[in-house]
Symmetry: C2
Subunit: 375 residues, 2 copies
C-alpha cells in the first residue's frame, strides 16, 4: 500500500548521448548514457519542470518506488509527491543520476566501448560544471528550455548554484539547501582521508578492481563510516547513542562495544555492498573542486553577477559540514547583486542530514516557496 501522497511506481528512463562531451578536465567523453526519472506531468507551456540534483551518494531515484522493489523508496520522497512541498500535481520533477555515478548513468563501472572493459581508473574526473552540462543536454532531450526551479541539498545545492551561473536564462528559481560555495580545508581533509582509505586498500588495485575480481570494501566502508560522523551532529549522536553499550557492559576487546560503533560499522558495511568505490572518489573530487569564486580571485559576489534566478537558501543550525555561516556567505554575495533571495536558518539537531529529514517548518518553507512560483 502506497501513501496517497506518493508518486507511486516509477520507472527509470535512459538517454544515450552520442555527442562528445568536453569535460573541464580537458578529457572528452565521446558517448555516454544518462538515467533519469520523472514525476508529474510537463504542462503544455513546458514551464513547470523542476530538476532535483543529488548529493554524494544519491541517485536519479528521488521519489516513489519500483514495481519490483516496493521498499526502495526515492531518497527525497518526503519532499516530492502529490501535495508535498515540491508538489507533483503542479510540477514536472526530474531526477538524474550524475555522470560518473554508479546507478545507471555512465561511470567507472560501465564498459568503455573502446576497450570492451570497465573504465575503472580511466574514467575521467568530472566536475559540477560537467554535470550541469549533461543535465542541460537531458533538458534539451526532454524539450525543456527553462526550468521553473532547480534544487538540491549539499552537493545537489552546489549544482543548483552552478546552473544559475552557467545557464542563467534556463533557471527561474534555485533551491540551495545545506550547501556552500566551496569546501573548507576541513571538508577537503575529511574527503582526502576517505579517498586515501579507498586508494590504499590493497583490493582497490589502482582502480581496476573490476578486472581483478576484488572490491575495495574495507576502504569504502571506512570512507562511509567517517562520512556518517560528519553528516550527523554531536548533539544528535549524543541523543541517539550517547555512551550506550551494546551488551550493557564493557568487553575489553576490539569488537563492537558502544552502540555508536555498531551503528557506524553497519552503515559502512551496507554502503560498501551498494556503492562503487571509483564513483565515491569522483563525487568527493567534484565537491573539492567546486568553487565558482575561484576564477574571480575568491570574490563570490563577482561570480554571481551573471545569475538571474531567484533563490531559496536554507541552512540548518546543527550542520557543521556546511554550517549556516557558509550559507550566509552565499546570501551576502547574492544580495550584493540585488538578487531575489529568501533565506532561512532552520533549527534542527540532525546536522547535515537535516536536509533529508521531515521537519514541519522546513517543509512548509519549501512548500510556500514552490507554491509562489508562477508557471
Amino acid at each position: 500500500m502506497q501513501a496517497s501522497n506518493s508518486v507511486g511506481i516509477v520507472t527509470p528512463q535512459y538517454v544515450h548521448i552520442d555527442k562528445p562531451l568536453h569535460l573541464i578536465s580537458g578529457t572528452v567523453l565521446n558517448s555516454y548514457n544518462l538515467v533519469y526519472e520523472t514525476y508529474g506531468k510537463l504542462n503544455p507551456e513546458r514551464s513547470n519542470a523542476v530538476l532535483i540534483c543529488h548529493a554524494l551518494s544519491g541517485s536519479h531515484h528521488v521519489a516513489g518506488i519500483y514495481a519490483d522493489q516496493p521498499k526502495n523508496v526515492g531518497w527525497w520522497d518526503n519532499m516530492i509527491g502529490p501535495g508535498k512541498p515540491i508538489d507533483t500535481n503542479r510540477f514536472f520533477v526530474i531526477g538524474m543520476n550524475n555522470l560518473g555515478g554508479c546507478h545507471g548513468s555512465t561511470g567507472p563501472a560501465s564498459v568503455d566501448a573502446r576497450t570492451s572493459k570497465p573504465y575503472g581508473a580511466d574514467f575521467p574526473v568530472v566536475t559540477v560544471e560537467d554535470w550541469v552540462e549533461t543535465q542541460a543536454l537531458l533538458a534539451d532531450h526532454l524539450g525543456i528550455e527553462q526550468f521553473a526551479a532547480i534544487g538540491g541539498g549539499s552537493l545537489g545545492g552546489m549544482q543548483a548554484l552552478r546552473w544559475t551561473l552557467d545557464h542563467p536564462e534556463r533557471v527561474r528559481h534555485a533551491l540551495v539547501i545545506a550547501a556552500a560555495s566551496n569546501l573548507t580545508a576541513q571538508n577537503i581533509a575529511f574527503n582526502d582521508v576517505a579517498r586515501q582509505a579507498i586508494i590504499t586498500d590493497p583490493d582497490f588495485c589502482g582502480g581496476d578492481y573490476y578486472s581483478h575480481n576484488t572490491l575495495p570494501r574495507r576502504g569504502l566502508r571506512l570512507a562511509r563510516m567517517l562520512g556518517h560522523i560528519t553528516y550527523l551532529s554531536n548533539d544528535s549522536m549524543a541523543a541517539k547513542f550517547g555512551r550506550e553499550l551494546r551488551e550493557g557492559k564493557l568487553s575489553f576487546g576490539f569488537d563492537v562495544e558502544f552502540e555508536i560503533e555498531s551503528y557506524l560499522r553497519y552503515q559502512g558495511d551496507k554502503f560498501a555492498d551498494q556503492f562503487d568505490a571509483n564513483s565515491y572518489l569522483l563525487m568527493t573530487k567534484a565537491l573539492d573542486y567546486f568553487d565558482p569564486a575561484a576564477v574571480y580571485g575568491g570574490n563570490l559576489s563577482a561570480a554571481f553577477r551573471v545569475a538571474k534566478a531567484d533563490f531559496l537558501v536554507l541552512s540548518f543550525t546543527s550542520d557543521w559540514r556546511f554550517s549556516p555561516e557558509r550559507s550566509h556567505d552565499v546570501v551576502k554575495a547574492l544580495l550584493d547583486n540585488n538578487a531575489n533571495v529568501n533565506y532561512a536558518e532552520i533549527t534542527s539537531s540532525h546536522g547535515h542530514d537535516s536536509f533529508l529529514m521531515v521537519d514541519d517548518y522546513y517543509h512548509q518553507l519549501v512548500h510556500a516557496y514552490m507554491n509562489n512560483i508562477d508557471l
Copy 2:
C-alpha cells in the same frame, strides 16, 4: 646550543616491577617495565613532585633533549623547565610512558616472558585507572608519598582527574587541561573509525604483525590523518591551508592537489613510521572507557565526592574535540563538592592542539597557579 630555560640533556630511567598488576579488565600482568624521566630535584621534604601524564601519542619524554638526539625535544618542553610555567627550579617533574605504549614501558611490542614473543594481540586492554596504579607504584619507587601536582592535557588531564579519585590523599593539585569527564558518542565514533582502519588493514594480521614481518602502516596512517583533523580547528585549518593548491592548479587526479592533503598525508606517513599500531588501539580504548561518573549512574558530582585536591581546569575556545562545555561539566561537578577550582577558557584558534602551543595568557595562568602551590 640549548636555550637557558631548557632542562637540557635528559636520560630515561627504567624500573622493573615484579608485583602482579590486577588490571580493570580482569587480566593480571605479572611483571613489567616502566620508563620515566625526571627534571629538577626532589626537595628534602619530598613535597615538590609533579607528575605529568601524557596523551594518546605522547611519552615519558616531556622536556629536554637526548645527548645523542639533540632535535628530539620533549613534547611539553615549552611548559616545563627552569623559569617556565612548571618551573624545574622549584619542582621535581616526572614523565612516565604509560603501560601499553611503545616508548619503553611494557606494551604490545614487548616480549612476553611466557612465550618469548611479542605480546601483540595478547597484550591486555589497559585503562586510565590501570595507568594511575602504575604511576602510584612509580611514585612509591621514587619515595614520593604525595604529589604537589599531577597534570596533563587531553587524555593526560583524564589521568590527573582519576588520581584525585583513586588516591585523593596523594595529590594536592590537579591540572586538567583540554580534557573531559568522558568521551561523547562523536569522540568514540572517530576513535572507532581509526581502530577499524588499523584492524582491517591486511598487514595487521590480527595484531601479530611483529611475527609476520608486516606493519599496518596504511591503517595507522589513516588513523593519524583522521586524528589530526580533530586536533585542529576549522578556523586554524582555513587560516593555515585554506584551499591552496600544491602546484597552483588542479591536476584532475588523485595525487596531492590541495596543501591540506599534503600536510595530512605527511603527518600520517611520519606517524606510521614511529608509532606502534597496537599501542594506538589501546590508547583509544582507554579514552573510550574513561568515565568516572558511570558507576554513579552518570552523576559526575557524586564521582568527585572523594576528591580532596585543588584544581586548575583549562579549556580552549576552538577545541571541538573536548569543547569548553565539557570542562564546564567538570567544574560544575567539582563546585558541587565545594572543591577549590580555578577555571579559565582560553581564547585560541588552534583547536584541541592548543594545550601544546605557546600562548602567553595560557602559560601565565599555569605559571601563576604553580607558583601559588605551597611546598
